[in-house]
Symmetry: C2
Subunit: 661 residues, 2 copies
């Protein structure tokens, strides 16, 4: 394909964004200044059209469609004066607006980074904020920084787009501001650009007292640590590919080893992978239609006011794609790197290119498989190589590395590395942060929290008609000594295929070694005689600790179950709703699954939540070493055997006796 | 130190083994041929002497001891005629036997690899085995191979050292024999070197029928796959350290970054790490006195005869150290490798050197910590480096890679990579392996099983007086809407310090995000004001699926709990007992903890079991891609902050702008 004929799943280019914005601006007329472009992004074509385009013909599609896929953009406009939302479809093919809706929604559109910058400006000049700062002895407002968290839900003002602002002080230009939190909380309206209130973090039934600002500096930047205090004894490791990389791009379609992957991106989810397939002999077999981090939530456990609203839905509220870092060679990734840029737009509809937003590279990851014949028949050992497709985002204090891995043995893995800064709060002298946090510096509280990441997995395991099964390993019912369990060792596998959305709402259960399996019941493995499938497994599935009727559970209902399965519906993408800021009615998964529906032998979508508990350590400050979590999709009876036995061992390749390859 | 003055914890050298064996042979006299040297290895000096030697002076030790530590060997002799065991202590310092005991034990000593080779020879010439093979159409006994599993426990013959032999056929020289299991099971006595019986794998209350040998070949060696069928598109990755490695050895004491580690090894546990410490400013702080994989058990779930005895305790029964592979450069490890050899001895007391048994190297493992200031104050990103100390062992069909990792942020990690071959059995035509296994090839059954690995952790967190706490994260007791839990988000940390061995017997609980913490109650963190400590955490803690009164639970009681804590006692090393083959009375942990004892503010030892469920996949054959599990020890309030903030970011070091270091 050429630049003129994008792949139907290619993100909008900067040129296309400009075209769309221009079309909308023309149509909109005079009242321009009240509107912001909340989002401008590709409206993904209907799945049956794309399947036909990709050659995965389904009964309801025909290949003739492939020539007629319309290139469309979805545009969300927000009228900041009236708080009204406009949803537009702009056809780039036709050069025209083809839909203009005024949806009634019980939530607010997500935030732009430039809205947050704008907010900081308005907060700094707010007299109420200046007065509060003065009480704390702060007069230089340019040293006060604002992290504009959302209010989660507001008892009376959900028609406004509100932030409860967390403020920090810098004691010098590049000072680590999270060492100096201010203990008052402006309530800011993003639409009117005004501070409408000041709130305080008081416990129930108590008067607030604004705590002093913790003033001990806690730095981590090398120029602050001082060159002579840095470790001097780390000898370089060079990772190079003198013959180049083993992968190849056609447009944004990537081929590596037996894998094929179409790399998408949008302002909200960031990386989206489409059309994931694997070459098995002469067949190319489809595995996944679309894969993305569709939502996340980070609830904090402290029940006091302000803190009890801390439950960032970073994907839908703050737009993970737009928060993507420009990556730096040999810092964020090492080796032979292929970068892709990403294009998002600001609130005025101006495209912004994030250079080096996506990193594609290969890694050696230890042994793939090995066996030594203890009877002198030799030793066989093969190195494992993986393809990494990654991005790193910054959500205020936190930074998340997000890594898709593809392995030679058919395994797909996703890992999130959490790093960056703790969200901190002030403590009074002699105030204990227990049992909700850890004192990480004098009068500085790092509060315990959880991270729940919801992956949307739209599978096509050998076709779109798939089922999902729960697979448990359970002890025998028979007592020890029974003829059927003489020595008491008996345990066995149980497999329950989900018939409907209700039965598919399931929790992780480590006591049963629970995994799930995405299967195609119409196709049996030649050896196991079971449906071909992929196992979904994660050792990182903490339950949502807030109550089932908590505000967190209402707004991020996805996190109350480890797995949900739904029948595929175009435009059902976001498990906590599209307008999830201040969402105040059920959205997404609870709505889609309100009525029980069949999910067996159907085009289905899985929503899988994994994550981690972050019990704050003193060692997480002044910057957090990476903590990691993720999940794995492993072929399980999908192939007729280990698909990686054709990976040559290093010692078999003469020319590569000293190096991998 | 020189070769003449070994470190007190250095393994016996080949010369020392020869000296010991010579002393024993002289003393033993004429009846030589009945005896085998079951084991010859270092008798580790009493802990108080070693602590004094290391400079960790304790009240009960004095530095004067350091000059007088005796170099001693523990020798176990087995009289194969009488089945009697002799336990000797040989002083190398004195050149004499200083103890000679005849212990009465309810188990058998572990197996040598040459005993297993010897067994294969005797089995091949056994007329009963030849007759059974003839019935299956096998006449060339040189193509029949024997894996000599133990019988676990025998109803009447525990005075013999028995194997239930799993037999396989090779159809050509390097054929994958696990594709061709024979369905009859010789019972072999290692002491008399005779096949004493043939058993069959019949289900309860049924006659046995010997199943045919599955004859489909399933190969994985490259010469069998064929050069033209191997992947051609893997471009080399070179990992080099042009300036050399960043670590330094003094004898077997290793210094890397701020870590210090003494590397030990014995025939049973393989790698043993001693005296693990971390340099914190000007202080070197002790963390762990001794760390090793002390035992493991691999129970299978199939309840039929033969299969229900499959519960390999590979450390104590088969000797992980002696089964260690010689590692091959750029196959098993890549980069700049430092190897250590290991010395074990055969059953005749002859030393055997395993070249390149231990691999020491550094790895780049992605980002260590990163933060981008979204307000234009720049991006900070640091690469993580880890030190790897590893060995790979082969236990008949299975291969295990065992990796100790040390990170710059004070984290210690241990990983086991399971690979190699499935243990396979024959199926009749149309016989289903369900629900206890998967058919992985025509008439070939791969049975589901578990791997439980028991780490012995002998900590000294800032000294030997330590305590252990269980740390849970639990939802608030207050209902949503209560003033103390208005939004229902409340959750908090509970910390329970174990007073005694009974309360310390605990299970993993993912629903509470349970971790454990090794603490020194006498020393508080300057910021958290909590005892300094290290958190013990693993996401891989499946419960033992066999019943609490099963034979597995009786012989491998350690696996019935995730954690045990005991007061330190010299010579308590092996949680399932020293003589664990055919163990038929409680040994190890259940005996040591029979009486409840205090473990608070004491020199304590932790036994921590982690592992994995292996639900067999078709893709695990003809060779298994690596499956991994492990645990982590993370500083938690041990330091006054992230100890890795002095690791320079790559982009800060001018000379290393393109490469790590």
């Amino acid at each position: 394909m050429t630049a003129d004929t994008p792949h139907p799943l290619d993100p909008l280019s900067a040129i296309e964004i400009k075209q769309v914005v221009s079309i909308v601006q023309k149509a909109r007329g005079d009242d321009d200044t009240h509107y912001i472009f909340s989002s401008v992004s590709l409206l993904e074509p209907p799945k049956d059209q794309v399947l036909a385009y990709l050659g995965w013909n389904t009964p309801s599609s025909s290949s003739s469609i492939s020539n007629t896929i319309e290139r469309e953009a979805k545009v969300v406009l927000l009228d900041r004066l009236s708080s009204k939302i406009h949803e537009l479809v702009v056809s780039l093919t036709k050069g025209a607006i083809t839909r203009w809706d005024h949806p009634m929604v019980k939530g607010q559109p997500g935030l732009h980074m430039d809205e947050m910058d704008e907010a900081q400006h308005h907060i700094r000049v707010s007299q109420r904020v200046i007065d509060e700062c003065a009480k704390l002895g702060i007069s230089d407002m340019s040293m006060v920084y604002a992290d504009t968290w959302t209010v989660s839900r507001h008892k009376t003002k959900n028609n406004m787009r509100l932030s409860q602002v967390l403020l920090y002080l810098r004691t010098s230009k590049n000072d680590n501001m999270y060492a100096h939190p201010l203990d008052f909380y402006p309530i800011y309206d993003f639409n009117s650009c005004k501070v409408i209130d000041i709130e305080y973090a008081q416990p129930p039934d108590s008067e607030h007292t604004v705590r002093d600002v913790p003033m001990m500096n806690r730095q981590y930047l090398p120029e602050q640590i001082g060159a002579k205090n840095l470790r001097q004894d780390i000898k370089p490791i060079h990772i190079t590919q003198p013959d180049g990389v083993s992968f190849k791009f056609t447009g944004r379609d990537l081929n590596w080893q037996k894998w094929g992957i179409q790399i998408g991106f949008n302002y909200r989810e960031g990386l989206v992978l489409y059309n994931i397939r694997y070459k098995d002999g002469n067949d190319t077999r489809p595995l996944i239609y679309r894969l993305s981090l569709a939502e996340m939530v980070v609830p904090y456990g402290h029940p006091s006011k302000i803190f009890n609203r801390k439950m960032a839905l970073d994907v839908g509220e703050f737009n993970v794609g737009a928060m993507t870092n420009s990556l730096q060679m040999n810092c964020d990734c090492v080796g032979s790197i292929h970068y892709l840029d990403a294009v998002v737009c600001d609130m005025h509809g101006v495209p912004r290119t994030i250079a080096n937003a996506i990193c594609v590279h290969e890694e050696d990851v230890g042994i793939l498989q090995k066996h030594t014949d203890p009877r002198g028949h030799g030793s066989y050992s093969t190195r494992s190589r993986r393809l990494v497709i990654s991005q790193i985002i910054t959500a205020a204090n936190y930074d998340y590395g997000m890594y898709y891995y593809f392995y030679q043995d058919g395994t797909i893995q996703y890992e999130i590395k959490a790093t960056g800064e703790l969200n901190t709060h002030a403590l009074s002298k002699d105030e204990s942060p227990h049992p909700y946090g850890t004192q990480i510096s004098p009068q500085l509280n790092g509060q315990h929290h959880q991270h729940h990441f919801c992956m949307r997995i739209d599978p096509m395991v050998d076709g779109t008609a798939n089922s999902v099964a729960q697979v448990d390993l359970v002890p025998s019912d028979l007592p020890t000594g029974h003829p059927g369990n003489d020595f008491g060792n008996g345990f066995y596998l149980t497999t329950t295929i989900f018939d409907d959305t209700d039965s598919a709402k399931t929790m992780a259960d480590a006591s049963k070694g629970r995994t799930w399996k995405i299967i195609n019941e119409a196709k049996l493995n030649p050896y196991s005689h079971e449906p071909v499938g992929y196992t979904l497994v994660s050792p990182h599935t903490p339950p949502l600790l807030p109550k089932p009727d908590s505000l967190v559970a209402q707004r991020a209902t996805f996190a109350t179950k480890t797995l949900w399965v739904t029948p595929y519906v175009d435009d059902q993408l976001y498990p906590a709703g599209f307008y999830c800021i201040q969402s105040h009615e059920p959205m997404g998964l609870p709505v889609w699954t309100k009525e029980n529906q069949s999910v067996r032998n159907k085009d289905v979508v899985l929503y899988f939540t994994f994550g981690l508990n972050h019990v704050v350590r003193v060692e997480d400050f002044p910057i957090m070493p990476v903590e990691s979590c993720g999940f794995t999709l492993r072929p399980n009876g999908f192939f007729a055997g280990n698909p990686a036995i054709d990976v040559p061992p290093i010692n078999y390749l003469e020319k590569a006796s000293c190096h991998i390859g």
